[in-house]
């Protein structure tokens, strides 16, 4: 146990913690401004914004001896007795000088810059800069360059080299490099070798200024109009923590949310740019019922009682759960069908797989399993039926008419069922399908309704490493569609609005697999294995982004 003193405040450092000055100060609630340092990248100490005064306190006499010169906090380990002074005049002067230096050649084109509002250069200049320009007035320049997946605004760059280090250390692709020398320095790519990798979008988040811009987001929205909601990416089993940033029920971008147990600071481009399907015009909306003329849109009232009636009349009804459901939706659906029809069977939908897991040198993994919640849905299904049917058995059951009514809860993002499978399932007496998009199956079903995609519902997912994470609702489902959770909440005869947290609490009591998920789910999620295997994941350092 060590004590570090930051501006007179004492901070405790754990015995195995290796913190630098910035992290130690953050623990004392003191911000040390920085550009080039990032907890996920190597330390270069080149921006010189985090200069502080450093000294040591003698453990016996308590006397503090300060170094005569300024030292970058990012490169100074916080050890027992280390003293950081961040509020002296000397430090303030050094910060003001760095700010002044960075604005010498900066175009200051904030009104047309995508980063304005969340720009470090802006924020720090307001906090630490000086109000007066002493340098020559430079002609305005704005050169931009397409360097592959992102756009580079060359003149806005402050040469922190975070993006360069990212492509070297995290993706291992090394597309970005620094060219030229001194004040002529620029970030660039080699000819014919554009920035093109599956994590490239992260360089935009890393860029502390507006130099690297997201082609998807560029000029779409000012950042101060956006609201962000914590959520979980549903496009693969890694289950990265994300922020969904929306304005008026329209998602504009997805940003990684720091989670040391899952994705650290990064997300892949698939997850970052994969959201537009949510706003796709072909999304299924409302309820459709088949009559003599085919599928016809009907109104919600009466639909649920029809479903209940159909299941109760059935000889052997089946419920098929897709790995895109939240745990709560799956649980409520299973509980309902088992209650109203003891002879019902529960089946699991197909698991979308694509290639192999992709691992990057920085430790990031893109899963081959392209669904968010296989483990959670399987655990729910097993708790109601041991073992649940798999999809092939369900098809076989439909083929030999053993099963006469099927409810298929879909939610697949990509096409998942072919016409042959759909025709087999159609052989049952009554087919109820919910999904996001029209499929061969929805074309053949008797009752179809649209459902909510991952930014549109609340609940929990369990990722590939058994970590349960909570999603909050960022946008509303399309008009006429209801979230499955609320449908099954109503079918279960529960009163009031759908409360997924109550459902999860019930699951934690009744299903051993979920027993760790009691109480409020922390922002980094819960490891469901802790009660089963007592397996401890190494906790990474909490740090400021």
């Amino acid at each position: 146990m060590g004590i570090v003193i930051v501006d007179g405040k004492e901070v405790e450092i754990g015995p195995h913690e290796r913190l630098n000055g910035i992290q130690a100060a953050a623990r004392a609630g003191i911000e040390i401004p920085h550009y080039c340092w990032h907890p996920g990248l190597s330390v270069v100490a080149s921006c010189r914004m985090c200069l502080v005064e450093v000294g040591t306190r003698d453990p016996k006499t308590g006397q503090v001896v300060m170094l005569p010169k300024l030292v970058p906090a990012c490169n100074t380990p916080a050890k027992d007795g280390t003293v950081f002074v961040t509020n002296s005049e000397k430090v303030a002067h050094a910060r003001a000088m760095v700010e002044e230096d960075l604005l010498l050649r900066h175009p200051i084109d904030c009104p047309i810059c995508d980063k304005a509002g969340e720009c470090r250069l802006q924020d720090y200049h307001f906090k630490y800069g000086q109000s007066e320009r002493r340098a020559e007035l430079q002609p305005f320049t704005s050169r931009k360059r397409d360097i592959g997946d992102v756009v580079l605004f060359v003149d806005r760059c402050i040469m922190c080299t975070r993006c360069v280090r990212f492509t070297r250390e995290i993706t291992g692709t090394s597309e970005l490099l620094v060219v030229n020398r001194g004040a002529h320095e620029e970030i660039d790519i080699l000819p014919e070798l554009p920035l093109n990798n599956k994590l490239s979008g992260n360089v935009v988040d890393l860029c502390p200024v507006g130099a690297l811009a997201d082609k998807d987001f560029l000029y779409k929205q000012r950042v101060w109009y956006l609201r962000r909601k914590p959520s979980v990416c549903a496009l693969c089993a890694t289950g990265c923590s994300i922020w969904i940033e929306e304005n008026q029920d329209h998602i504009y971008r997805i940003k990684p949310r720091e989670n040391p147990f899952v994705n650290h600071w990064w997300i892949c481009n698939e997850g970052r740019y994969g959201y537009p399907f949510v706003h796709h015009p072909q999304r299924l909306r409302g309820v459709w019922r088949r009559d003599n003329q085919g599928l016809r849109q009907i109104n919600w009232p009466g639909v649920l009682s029809q479903i209940v009636e159909k299941i109760q009349q059935a000889r052997r009804p089946a419920l098929c759960l897709s790995p895109f459901l939240t745990n709560e939706e799956a649980y409520l659906a299973c509980r309902w069908i088992k209650n109203i029809h003891p002879g019902s069977v529960i089946s699991l939908g197909p698991i979308p797989q694509q290639g192999d897991d992709e691992r990057f040198p920085g430790g990031f993994v893109i899963s081959a399993e392209k669904c968010p919640n296989r483990l959670g849905v399987e655990a729910v299904a097993y708790s109601f039926e041991q073992p649940p049917m798999n999809f092939d058995e369900l098809l076989a059951g439909a083929r030999n008419s053993e099963i006469d009514t099927i409810i298929i809860l879909g939610g697949y993002v990509k096409p998942w069922v072919d016409a042959e499978q759909a025709a087999t399932l159609r052989r049952t007496g009554f087919l109820i399908v919910t999904d996001l998009f029209p499929t061969p199956l929805t074309d053949r079903a008797d009752l179809v309704f649209g459902m909510a995609a991952y930014p549109e519902h609340e609940g929990s997912y369990v990722n590939r490493r058994h970590r349960l994470q909570w999603l909050t609702r960022a946008v509303r489902p399309p008009l006429g569609s209801r979230c499955l959770g609320s449908i099954f909440w109503e079918l279960n005869g529960m009163s009031g609005l759908y409360q997924p947290r109550d459902v999860l609490a019930e699951m934690a009591r009744t299903i051993p697999y979920f027993s760790a998920a009691t109480g409020r789910i922390p922002e980094h999620g819960v490891d469901l294995r802790v009660n089963q295997l007592a397996e401890q994941e190494t906790s990474s350092e909490r740090s400021t982004m």
């Binding site: 970058p72 050649r105 020559e136 040469m159």
Partner: protein
């Protein structure tokens, strides 16, 4: 003693074919190496060098024996020796003389030093602008391999050494020891943050010693003549300064600029600057007087005409307000030379050579250049001098705002020029900008933004 000084480093440079092994051996070359390998252990050599008080000749003057002793004692290896032959300091060409005219002397010093530091590989980091030095050094290495002074089991001692020449691409920053290491590794020569120091983690993350060419040549003479001989030359430590280890030994001084006989001269440390100019370099040209003198390479700053009696040892120029002895490159400016031109030249050099890693140096050097260019263009203001001083006072290792010492080198010419020649610069500003010299408002840039704006825009987006 000074009168009886006899050159040792430059003793044989006047001989015909002085760069060949035959001539070098005929003057007793490689005998020292033979004796060292036969009679002394590596730690004996380190101790001898430490006693001699040899300080690095590359600019910083760090005691060489002390640097070697920082190497981890029981390291399994490899340990690397880098020879810093990236002599880029303006006004300095002594390593060039050594490498072109007496490469075997450098090589013998290198082999002895590698033996002392237990290095089995030595890299000579040679600047690209020295093609003759490259050819002669390469040739000398070949001759040394053939004669058994290099390679496996040198002279039957069991000690092996390979020497490689690595040619730089012409960047000043590669002379900084960690920049040099990065460059040998094939990376961009951005100096590393220290600690760890190279002696602990240097080239290829192994312990590394980086020494200047002239330092290694001195090592050879120390081992030949003994530490006592070396200590008999030069200046003992200042008794009033406990941190001064003294300045011993001979030093090559390169005198250039407005003198009658510019050249590289060997003199004992502590020789006065005036003596170097008057006696060695034949006085200032055309019978004029010196206005200012750069004592040791451009980055050390300026001595004014009143300070010419400054002793040229490691602490003399510091006492006169300069950065230090530097590389011993003396540049003389005569009384007709405007200080603003010196300032312009110096700012241009450092703005061009800043590696661009640390913000204060990258932007500060370019800003200073813009100000000086504007003053020269007749749009200077008196406040610019204060601004220049503030920029210069705030970049460098000493205020702590940069990783390496290049920024200090960029700052000192500005600081000394303005502090010592302020009246002349003020007159210049008033004369060239009679209407606007009092202004304090920001003014448009002179060079319409050619700093940092190349014309290579490609592939417009949308």
């Amino acid at each position: 003693m000074m009168e009886s000084f006899e050159p040792v480093l430059l003793a044989s440079v006047q001989k015909p074919d002085s760069h060949t092994l035959k001539v070098y051996e005929s003057a007793g070359g490689y005998q020292t190496l033979r004796r060292v390998l036969k009679e002394l252990s590596p730690s004996n050599v380190v101790e001898e060098v430490r006693i001699s008080g040899l300080r690095g000749r590359g600019g910083a003057g760090f005691p060489t024996g002390l640097k070697w002793s920082f190497l981890p004692a029981a390291h399994s290896g490899p340990i690397y020796l880098c020879v810093n032959a990236d002599e880029s300091e303006p006004g300095t060409f002594c390593n060039r003389i050594l490498m072109e005219l007496d490469p075997h002397q450098v090589l013998e010093g290198t082999i002895i030093s590698a033996y002392a530091t237990r290095s089995t590989t030595a890299y000579v980091y040679l600047r690209y602008e020295y093609p003759l030095a490259f050819r002669r050094l390469q040739n000398a290495i070949r001759e040394a391999y053939e004669a058994g002074y290099l390679g496996r089991d040198i002279l039957g001692s069991g000690f092996s050494l390979d020497v490689f020449i690595h040619r730089g691409a012409g960047a000043y920053i590669c002379g900084e020891e960690t920049g040099l290491i990065e460059s040998i590794e094939g990376k961009r020569a951005w100096p590393r943050t220290k600690p760890p120091f190279p002696a602990v983690e240097g080239l290829f993350r192994k312990p590394t010693v980086v020494n200047n060419v002239e330092t290694l040549a001195c090592v050879r003479h120390i081992m030949e003549r003994g530490a006592e001989w070396f200590r008999s030359i030069g200046v003992p430590p200042d008794p009033n300064d406990p941190r001064d280890p003294g300045s011993y030994g001979p030093k090559l001084f390169c005198v250039s600029g407005h003198v009658n006989r510019p050249g590289c001269f060997e003199a004992p440390l502590g020789v006065s600057c005036r003596r170097l100019i008057e006696e060695y370099a034949g006085g200032v040209r055309d019978g004029r007087r010196a206005k200012a003198v750069v004592p040791g390479g451009l980055s050390t700053g300026l001595l004014s005409a009143d300070e010419l009696d400054t002793p040229m040892d490691f602490s003399g120029p510091i006492k006169a307000g300069c950065l230090g002895l530097g590389t011993g490159g003396v540049i003389v400016l005569d009384e007709t030379y405007p200080i603003i031109d010196f300032l312009h030249n110096s700012c241009r050099f450092f703005a061009h050579e800043s590696c661009g890693q640390c913000t204060p140096c990258r932007e500060g050097t370019a800003w200073a250049l813009r100000i000086v260019e504007r003053i020269k263009a007749g749009r200077g203001r008196l406040v610019d001098l204060d601004l220049l001083l503030e920029i210069a006072d705030n970049i460098g290792i000493i205020p702590g705002t940069t990783i390496c010492g290049l920024a200090d080198g960029a700052a000192w010419p500005i600081k000394t020029a303005i502090r010592k020649f302020r009246a002349e610069l003020e007159d210049e500003i008033k004369r060239t900008n009679p209407k606007g010299w009092r202004s304090t408002h920001p003014v448009p840039a002179f060079s319409d933004g050619n700093i940092g704006t190349s014309k290579t825009t490609r592939l417009p987006v949308r």
